[in-house]
């Protein structure tokens, strides 16, 4: 399922970083955004919308649209495109049942 992995990063990447997404370890490299760490590991959606539980991931990529909201180290509503990964960072998608009542559908997960 991982169409493009962190191995596809352009050359000259120093420093490997491991983060977790919903408890699953992901390897990425220093200087990536959380959004990049997820997408380059094949995770394209990490949030369901409130009304129709539609999957969402990156869209504007520069902090304008808020589509890519994610919980980071227990802090909810962070823009994945703006937060830089740090070793051991815990990332959680907000379609977790304890976060939002419509979750249960795994529509957004690939």
């Amino acid at each position: 399922m991982n169409a493009y992995t962190s191995g596809d990063n352009l050359p000259g990447e120093p420093g490997e970083v491991t983060v977790t997404f919903d408890g699953r370890p992901l390897r990425t490299s220093a200087g990536q955004s959380v959004g990049s760490a997820l997408v380059t590991n094949g995770i394209t959606a990490w949030r369901d919308t409130r009304k129709h539980a539609r999957p969402r991931g990156l869209f504007c990529g520069i902090g304008v649209c808020f589509d890519c909201l994610v919980a980071v180290d227990g802090v909810p509503n962070q823009r994945a495109c703006l937060v830089e990964v740090r070793e051991g960072m815990e990332i959680k998608g907000s379609c977790e049942p304890n976060v939002h009542p419509l979750a249960g559908s795994e529509g957004g997960r690939e």
């Binding site: 596809d8 352009l10 990049s36 997408v39 869209f59 649209c65 823009r79 495109c81």
Partner: protein, 487 residues
Amino acid sequence: MSATVPGIVEADVAVVGAGPAGLAAAVSAAEAGAGVVVVDAGPQPGGQFWRHRPETVEPNPEGMGHHGWRTYRDLRARFDAARHTGRITYMPGQQVWMAEKADAGFVVRTTPTVTAGLTSGKADGGSTVVARRLVLCPGGYDRQLPVPGWDLPGVMAAGGIQAFIKGNGALPGKRFVIAGTGPFLLPVAAGIAEAGGEVLAVLESSSPKAWLPYLKPAAGVPGKAVEGVEYAAVFARHRIPYRIRTIVTEVLGTGRTSGARTAKVDADSRVRPGTERVYRDVDVVGFGWGFTPQMELPLALGVETRVDADGSLVGVVTERQESSVPGLFLAGEVTGVGGATLAVLEGHTAGASAAAAPEPAAKLQGLRTTARHRRFAEAMHRAHPVPAAWQDWLAPGTTVCRCEEVTAGEITGARDSLGARDARTLKSFTRAGMGWCQGRVCGFAAACLGAGPGAAPTIESLSGAAKRPLAAPVGIGELAALQTTDN
């Protein structure tokens, strides 16, 4: 959420934004002798145009794939030099959530872009900047038009794809389709190809013929033609098909983007039946329909506005880049989208004006160059318009407002049966533009839908979409601290 009482920073000139316009403004104001504070939402200078890998990881970026990198290096060296002498105080990672006029000038309130504790950076609370003069260089972002399926993951703003590559040194997918209008689609596609991605097609809704009436202003900025030739070479090398008068009519996929249905359009941008085609195994569809200037701060301060040739709401400025609000200067995309070269020129003028510098010797030459670039920008807007018939491409169920999930049918229904013709009324009836992004993404489209097919949105409707009580989300602690400070 931090509830620290904000620190107060004072300066002669405050500059908001550290992109091409903001860097130039800061450097010019500082070199003219002013004490300058630069507030920027990004973690390092450069803005979107000169976005680059984190300098913690790549300390001396070479500017691969960047245009005008030498200009950036020059501005950056002068910016850093002025920081060392204390002329410039640089506040990265801080977004402005409120700007007000005060007796002595302006008050700008900031909050960290990324919540405190999640960055290694120093800033862990908000600040209040008090300055005699204010230069706003907030830039812009991709303008979007809705299309069926555009809310699927894998659909990205064209500029978002470019930002992803520049900032992360990685690709958000392997196979791309890029669509919309304007020359900006070219560097996006070229950047993908140079980074090792496959661009299945670049779809341009307009036609090169649209440039014919504007050859004179185009020839006035020969550098742009050189850039065009460079992109043509990249397209040829990577065999990227460039299809004109073609649009994406639907993004295909379940749970994520898997393909794109396209069609040819006629000169009036109406879909030509029988010209459909499907691209399969697509990871990312990138859309760009020009840019939306980030107008909330100028509007909050009450500047006079106009609708530019591309349909964007922009601020009216004098030759010195001063807005209708005395002491408030605007530079870059908020005075009319025109690219980085123009933004730098305007930034220099705005910074020097804000520092009340004596008229520079090169002023006339600078103004002429600025005027030439403005004429080029206008020609570009007219040659690459938002397609007149784009509203016909929508289905009633097409999502327009992504945050509140409001459909085209709900918006046109409110327009036709409830008389909601402007963005503000549409907000109250449908909630379009009421969610997290506050209409930044759907504002233009919703204003057009309210105005009706073929009608251009008005200053009032565009302002209604861009006027926001708070320019960025803030914690309740900051609002509480605000009251204490003011009483």
